[in-house]
Amino acid sequence: MNTEERLATALARIPYAAFLGVRAELKGDELTLVMPFADHLIGNPVLPALHGGVVGALMELTALTQLAIASKSDAFPKTIDVGFDYLRSGRPRDTFARARVVKIGRRIANVQAEAWQSERGALIAAMHGHFLLADDAVEPA
């Protein structure tokens, strides 16, 4: 299996990813997770706006998946801590997220993620977090 198939399989096994409706797009080694708009993702029906929690969840899933690619692991890492900055309300449209692995150490990795909608430069939220690596993770040379 190539990386894209491995990812698609790994994501498809996560019930919560299906609950959000998230799918993966891989270009080279850079992953974009796409969360198509759906009514149940709404947190504020009046504005309307996406629930901040699901935007956070999308970024965390992106970070976990990108980290699984970077550490060449088949298992997902465990979240130690995550911090979310909310920059704009999420409109009722498709949302995208990418993550950057800042550092992979022996046990812990530091990852940043961003989420946007119609404009790549106009982020709706950002995340930074620390993750405990899976046992089979490979530390880059």
């Binding site: 959000l20 947190g43 929690g53 995550v82 900055d85 909310y86």
Partner: protein, 164 residues
């Protein structure tokens, strides 16, 4: 989260009923089956029922971190609304979650949020998620919220003429 009071908020319903209605007013809150358990001493306590569709690790059945994120965001927002006089809309600025351990598979998650400081613009909240008691926590959270995010900034600004 960001929220406006649902219609009927200003009527004579008791506070518990209002806060509960606000939680279940969000489609995502309903999708997760979020519910309010109690309000006491400015602390909001709620529940998310365990369900196979919110599992994040299919090998262990542990629920996804994203569910805890959404739950704590929502509950922290409710704690701010409870602290506001009068209640109004709020919006999350920043939310930080520390995971002590994985949630126990098959069990409901409870959480308690407390708004310990509220100013004119910003409110500060702490929350904890657990299965049985707050002292054996799954996760701790701290959050800041904009209070009345759409409100006019300066007193009297509403009296100035709108630019044409």
């Amino acid at each position: 989260m960001s929220s406006d009071p649902p219609s009927g908020y200003e009527t004579g319903d008791d506070v518990f009923t209002r806060i509960r209605a606000m939680m279940q007013w969000t489609p995502q809150g309903r999708a997760l089956g979020m519910d309010l358990i109690s309000l006491a001493d400015g602390k909001v306590r709620g529940r998310i029922p365990y369900s196979p569709q919110i599992v994040g690790d299919p090998d262990t059945g542990v629920i996804a971190g994203g569910v805890i994120t959404t739950f704590l965001d929502q509950l922290c927002g409710m704690a701010v609304v409870l602290a506001m006089k009068p209640p109004g809309p709020v919006a999350t600025i920043d939310l930080r979650i520390d995971y002590m351990r994985a949630a126990e598979p098959g069990r409901d998650i409870l959480a308690e949020a407390h708004c310990y400081k509220i100013g004119r613009n910003v409110a500060f909240v702490r929350a904890v998620a657990f299965e049985d008691a707050p002292d054996s926590a799954v996760a701790h959270a701290t959050a800041t919220f904009m209070v009345n995010p759409a409100a006019v900034k300066r007193p009297g600004a509403n009296l100035r003429e709108k630019k044409r």
